[in-house]
């Protein structure tokens, strides 16, 4: 009897298809235009060498898309940054920021990335909107005097929306920062979930479980706009970390 009831319920839960809607000719034309436009853009970015960055970073966390590229490189919002950034984000002293493969601090809107000192960001770090990451601070009594610091964020970290990473913090690999938390202490071991204000340890995963975390890799590896294999040489000439 129970199974019968469950079956009936499941049948009811099947989503009915939408009623037929009349699509105007104009909509049909725009839809086709968009479809063809997308196909042409895809073919272009796949085959033309200097456009290939759009294709190769297409489905990654640190994607470069035409709109954001235009805003950054042509209109000049955050032009100094060597990784893709949203035009509502801010970066201070981008030459002090080291960005790993597949991560882009400030690609989400409203971020504040401050590199007074050294700011190291690892590979494949996911950073949400409105996140503040700081490397340096200022003098204790005189706010006009900046003080350099070092902040490190490990590989495969997630940083939730509205979090703040305070200066001189080190987060290990696979640290998950809950949304809205203020990180004031270092968590060097990693493999943990932290959250709150000030951020406290919510869950520490045991060493037996380390092999269960997935270390995914992108097919095409890029540090910002620079291919990963050229990055070591590029870094010596162009940035300060």
């Amino acid at each position: 009897m129970l199974t019968m009831e469950a079956d009936i319920k499941r049948e009811d839960a099947v989503v009915q298809p939408y009623p037929p809607v009349k699509i105007s000719l104009w909509k049909k034309i725009t839809y086709r235009r968009q479809k063809w436009g997308d196909a042409i853009w895809l073919a272009m970015t796949k085959n033309i060498p200097f456009l290939q960055i759009f294709y190769k970073t297409k489905d990654t966390e640190a994607f470069v898309n035409f709109k954001l590229w235009f805003m950054q490189k042509v209109l000049g919002f955050n032009r100094g940054a060597y990784w893709p950034m949203h035009y509502t984000s801010t970066v201070i002293e981008p030459k002090n920021v080291l960005v790993g493969i597949g991560s882009a601090p400030g690609l989400s809107p409203g971020c504040y990335i401050q590199g007074r000192g050294h700011l190291y960001i690892g590979d494949y770090v996911g950073i949400g909107p409105n996140v503040g990451i700081m490397a340096g601070t200022h003098h204790l009594h005189d706010l006009r005097i900046p003080r350099n610091g070092v902040t490190k964020i490990g590989n495969y970290c997630w940083i939730g929306m509205n979090s703040v990473i305070m200066p001189n913090i080190e987060l290990g690999d696979f640290t998950i920062v809950q949304a809205g938390s203020v990180v004031k202490n270092s968590f060097k071991e990693g493999y943990c979930v932290i959250g709150g204000n000030p951020a406290t340890l919510i869950k520490q995963f045991p060493p037996e479980s380390y092999h269960l975390f997935e270390r995914y890799k992108n097919k095409y590896e890029y540090n910002g706009f620079i291919p990963a294999h050229k990055f070591a040489a590029w870094r010596k000439e162009n940035i300060w970390v």
Binding site: K203, E208, S209, L212, F213, E214, R215
Partner: protein, 80 residues
């Protein structure tokens, strides 16, 4: 064979999720057990690994949909 495995798993699940009323079937998913979230999932997998002395990797975890898949995978790993 399959039933015994489910019973063994149920004992582990009761320990990890701290709920004595848990009963498992092949169609049980994470939505059926309240305490089963992403954090306790890792704990549960570690407990299963210890109990059966096998080792999963992250690609295996991606394929799991329900308890039936888990039992199949355990049998596969034990057989291999």
């Amino acid at each position: 064979m399959g039933k015994d495995l489910l019973e063994e798993l149920a004992i582990i699940f009761r320990e990890v999720f701290e709920d004595e009323t848990i009963t498992l079937s092949r169609n049980t998913t994470a939505t059926d057990i309240e305490q089963w979230d992403s954090l306790t999932h890792i704990e549960m997998i570690v407990a299963v690994e210890k109990h059966f002395s096998i080792r999963f990797n992250s690609m295996d975890l991606k394929k799991l949909e329900n308890v039936g898949d888990l039992t199949d995978m355990i049998q596969q790993k034990r057989g291999a």
